[in-house]
Each structure stands twice: as structure tokens, then as C-alpha cells.
Symmetry: C2
Subunit: 349 residues, 2 copies
């Protein structure tokens, strides 16, 4: 019966998962899982991290990210050590997006027989160092073989004060929209790597590093959450556009951001000219920046934002405003014209 | 430099990971990770679960298990639904081995584009049902593409009372060695599947189910831990022989078990004759039984063990005794002769 179904062209269930996006598959999962869960599960499938209550004041946050060779990375672009750091960083970034403190990680590593053991060691060293930078620790994991190619899957846990936790929902009309750091650097770095492999000109080093070794914004995330003025937060992994749309959907609001205010660094501006690309488009749709996008109440004092910036040594830029849900999500162009924000970016699935 | 090293035949670091066993790679990891960790990390790499203190009374336990298509399973042997159940079960079994209560799971699923979406749904259903049987919940996860073949990685959390927790260490000379259930059924089921695929004779159904849908011994694990008489515990995943050796190494003791006392069910005895195999060897070295192996103090009352058995509806069999470390680990043969216990079984790496 199963086989018959699969041969039929008309049955939609016979389609491969490639015909679906990540969002559609997550919706299928949500439809299959029980619709109710016990009260200690504060957040399940659908935010940066799952959140499970520990006691009256604290919750555990948990996230995972699986990286597949030749899908998510190539060893001609990234060293094993950098891969280890990067795999840890993208998980830490999800922890940062909740305003949480990372604690421990489990590492699953599936490798072919001929995977060089020195590369394996370097991956572990990279994970170790990235976690050490953020006072987190590897406590376990799992090794397996693959017929071909490396799969690296890191699960990361953290802890958060329930009163301080931020999620994608919580933004309200009138709230201001801000981001940490420069955006688009990672996309610029990727394009440079694709053009030059590892022999790129020195002046693009910062962009390449932004791509290969993103710095999770743990301290900024904690200060933003602790400020008491933030209303929602997400890390920019898919793209500024997609992740802002995630916040709008979860918060049931719209947003208006100004293209001109999106923070683009000098290096990216230079690289964009060189690559014949638009730096602000790269910043808007590039993804994998692992900066934080957050919203704050309209009356948030300038001094509060300055304190967060100084305390975390991170640039903070206001790029727009949350508006009513019915007004949609839109972009104010450099000429003042408005266009809908398109959900373009990096679909990690 | 790195490239030069890799071309050299004499550099041991140029070897592929396939030249190492799982234990050797875990030792490399331990050598790379920091030698000290904060006091809240009670157990790191090396037991069934990592253990992290939550407060004075409770700890979080965490484990993960990655399954790779054509390495750990084949869809000609197992349905997608069964695979989901099984992947959840092997993680739950690690939680059981600590005497812990499972809570939440994260699921990473990496699939090729043409992976049928109905299979994907069935995997999620299987995971859901296995977790529901044990009052645990999927709270998140991660989807990714692979060039080829499915990789399913489940990360499972649980909670344990620190006073009740059992680990691999803790066994002392004189302690009695016990196991839950029948052993070898899973190996028998696998051999039947390899011989017949899914068209096996009905009388081997129980063995095939033991292989495809092992039942994690959560309730038995909790009762064993709560009894106050148990000293060490592990789940039998590699094999009775290997997992007993794990306990001996972690506890710094030896062990003597009697081949004749290893519990073998009638179905396995029949299948063994049929397959031309030795049922007790299958029970000793087969692995993947996901029963519990535990040790109890010498003076443990018979009534305590009977209560655990009744309370968890699980057979419990005493198979030997913990002895001094210097006496090694040995097997008393049916003819009364002693031989060293060989570390044969299923290397999951």
C-alpha cells in the first residue's frame, strides 16, 4: 500500500520534502504533535529556543542546529577549527536571542571512515573555544559513521530568568525596531569566499570572518533583556527581512523599516562595489549575520540603549517602527517610496 | 602545512576516524576539553547522560543519539513510524539508566530533497507516540537537507533527584549484578530481518519487535533508583558484555557473571536453533536490548527486587557478582570453566 501510494503521481503525500519549505514542514510537525502540553513547557516548537520552566523564577532554554557538509559548509571555505567555532556560535546566538545565559552543549558528530582524525580534533577544539568564550561547556554527545560527508549537530542549553526572557512575540505597535552590529557582512564574506576561495584580498578579512566566525551576541542579549524596555527579540539567521517577518507574525503586528538606516559597514560597502552587488540588499536579505533584532517600548530612554551598547561593546541602530498588523511589513526605500518586505533570505532547511 | 601533513603516510594524525573505535575518539575529546568544569556539571562526557545540577535537590540529565540511514537502519527493515519510535526509545533508555524521569526532546532531521513527506510525517508520529508513552514531549528541533540519506538526531532531557541518581560508577565488590527482561531478543530479531526482510514467520514477531521497537525501561529504572539498594546502572545498548565492562571500568571493580543465568526467552532459544546460532552468545554479545543492567548491595532483600519487578511489570534476573578490580571481568561457562569477558558487541560508532 505504501509503495503504491509512493508510485502515484497525484497523491500530494508522495512528494519529497524538497517541495516544502522549512516553515511548511514545521507546520506539519505542529499538526502532528499534541495540541496541548504540560504547563512547565512555556515555549515549544517555533521560537529560537524551546523554554521549559525549572522553578518559579527560572527556565531552561534549549536549541539545536544541524550542519551538513556540502549543504551548509564546504571544507574548501572553512577550516575544521572554524567550523567547530561556527557550529557552536549559531547555537549560542539562539540562546542570546532569548536573553539567556548559555550553560552546556551536547555534540553529535557523524563522519565517514576516512574523515581525518586531526580534523575531528580541530572541530572539537573550535567548539571548546567558542563555548569557553561564553562560559559554556561540552558535557556529552554522540559519534556515528556516515557513508559520506560530515554532519555536525550541536544541542545547546541555557538558563534564563523568566521575568527577563524575550521571545519573538511581544512587540506592539509603536515599538521601535533595533539591530546590533553591521548587517550583510556574512553575505559579503560568503560571496568573497565563493569568488576567491581562501586566497581573498586582505581588505575583505573582516567580512570573511563575519561569515566563518560569527560572534554570538550573548552579552548584548542579556543586557537588552535585563533593561526591562525590550518587548521582543530574535537573532538574524535567515535574513533581516525574514526574521523581522517572524517577529511580526509571532507578535501579530506589522513593521516599517527604512532601507537607509540599515547599518552597513565600510568594508561591505567597498566589497559590494567590487562584487557589483547592492550592500543594503545584502544587509536586508543576506542572512547568517547572527546579530540581534529587537524591539523596545516607544519611550525607551536613549541612555538605556547607550548602556546596552557600551556594556556589550556592540553597535546598536534603530531601523524602524512596529505598526499595526493590518498595515503589513514594509520597507521605506531611499527615495521615500514604500514596498512590501519580501521574505527573501537563507532558508536553512 | 596542514595539506603536507595529510599527504604523509607516517603521521598518525592523518589517519581517518574509521581507524579508531568510539572509545578512542571519546578519549581524544576528553583530552581536548578543559580538564576542569564548574561544580554544577556533575557528570560530563562518558556516562549514559550528562548531569547538570538545577538546585540542591534536582539535576537535569541530557543525552543524544544520532541515527544515520544505511549505517544504523535501513528502510527495508524498519518503517518510518517504527524508526521514530525507536530513535526516541534509545534516548529514553539512556534517561532510564540514570533513574531519571524524561521531560522534553529536540529532534534534528536531515533529509534529501526526495525524501517522501509522508515518511517524514510518520517519523514525527513515531517519536510523538513513544514520548507520549513516557510522558515526554517534543519541544523543538531542526530541519536540514542532506545530499543523500536520512540522519535523525534526537536530544533528550530528563530530571532526577540527586539523592536517587544512579551512574555507571558506584558498584563495589560483593554487589549483586542484575538485568531486566530477556537479553538477545533484539539480535535475534535483526538476524531474522536480515534473513527474511519483512516477510518473516509469525513466531518470530516478538524478536523482531524487540529489535524495531525496544521498550525503554523508564519505570524499572526509577524504581531501581528509588529502592535505595542499587549502586550502579547502565542500559544495555552495546551488549551485556561491553556495558558490564563499562560499569566495571567506571566503578573500578571486576565482575563475574554466569552464562547459564543470562535470561534468554523461549522465542530466542527457538530462533537460535533455527538460525544455527548460540542463544546465550546472542544474549551476551548481541546488544541493542535496551534493558537495564544494575548492581545492588549484597544484603538487598528479595522483597525489594520483587517490588521493582512487580511495579514495573519487568522480569529481573540476577546474573552474577561484582568482584575486586584485580580479578578482572569473567564469565563462568556452563561447564564451570572461567574465561575473560570479551568486549564484543555493537560499536555504535
Amino acid at each position: 500500500m505504501e509503495k503504491l501510494k509512493r508510485q502515484g503521481q497525484l497523491d500530494p503525500d508522495a512528494r519529497g520534502v524538497g517541495a516544502f519549505g522549512e516553515a511548511a514542514l514545521i507546520e506539519r510537525i505542529s499538526g502532528i504533535l499534541p495540541s496541548t502540553s504540560p504547563p512547565e513547557i512555556i515555549l515549544g516548537v517555533g521560537d529560537d529556543c524551546a523554554v521549559v520552566k525549572i522553578d518559579r523564577e527560572r527556565a531552561l532554554v534549549a536549541t539545536g542546529d544541524i550542519l551538513v557538509e556540502d549543504v551548509h559548509f564546504r571544507f574548501e571555505h572553512i577550516s575544521a577549527y572554524e567550523l567547530g567555532r561556527r557550529a557552536a556560535a549559531v547555537n549560542l546566538s539562539d540562546i542570546a536571542a532569548m536573553g539567556a545565559r548559555p550553560t552546556v552543549a551536547l555534540v553529535s558528530c557523524a563522519m565517514p571512515d576516512d574523515f581525518p582524525v586531526d580534523r575531528f580534533d580541530d572541530i572539537i577544539r573550535g567548539i571548546r573555544d567558542q563555548l569557553a568564550d561564553n562560559e559554556a561547556h561540552v558535557v556529552g554527545g554522540n559519534l556515528a559513521r556516515t557513508p559520506d560527508g560530515l554532519t555536525l549537530d550541536i544541542f545547546m542549553l541555557g538558563e534564563v530568568r523568566l521575568k527577563r526572557m524575550l521571545t519573538r512575540s511581544g512587540a506592539a505597535a509603536g515599538d521601535r525596531i533595533l539591530v546590533t552590529g553591521h548587517l550583510g557582512d556574512s553575505k559579503g564574506g560568503l560571496m568573497i569566499l565563493e569568488k576567491y576561495k581562501r586566497s581573498y584580498p586582505d581588505r575583505f578579512e573582516k567580512l570573511v570572518r563575519a561569515h566563518l566566525q560569527p560572534a554570538p551576541r550573548i552579552e548584548a542579549g542579556r543586557l537588552i533583556a535585563a533593561s526591562g524596555f525590550a518587548t521582543a527579540m530574535i537573532d538574524i539567521s535567515d535574513s533581516l527581512a525574514i526574521d523581522l517577518l517572524h517577529v511580526c507574525r509571532a507578535s501579530d503586528v506589522g513593521a516599517e523599516i527604512e532601507l537607509e538606516r540599515i547599518p552597513v559597514g565600510d568594508e561591505l560597502a567597498e566589497a559590494a562595489v567590487f562584487l557589483g552587488a547592492e550592500s543594503r540588499e545584502m544587509a536586508l536579505y543576506g542572512g547568517e549575520d547572527y546579530q540581534l533584532l529587537f524591539t523596545v517600548k516607544p519611550d525607551t530612554p536613549r541612555a538605556i540603549l547607550a548602556d546596552i551598547s557600551r556594556g556589550s561593546d556592540t553597535r546598536i541602530t534603530e531601523i524602524g517602527t512596529i505598526i499595526a498588523s493590518g498595515d503589513g511589513c514594509r520597507l521605506v526605500d531611499t527615495d521615500g517610496g514604500r514596498r512590501p518586505l519580501e521574505p527573501d533570505g537563507w532558508d536553512h532547511f
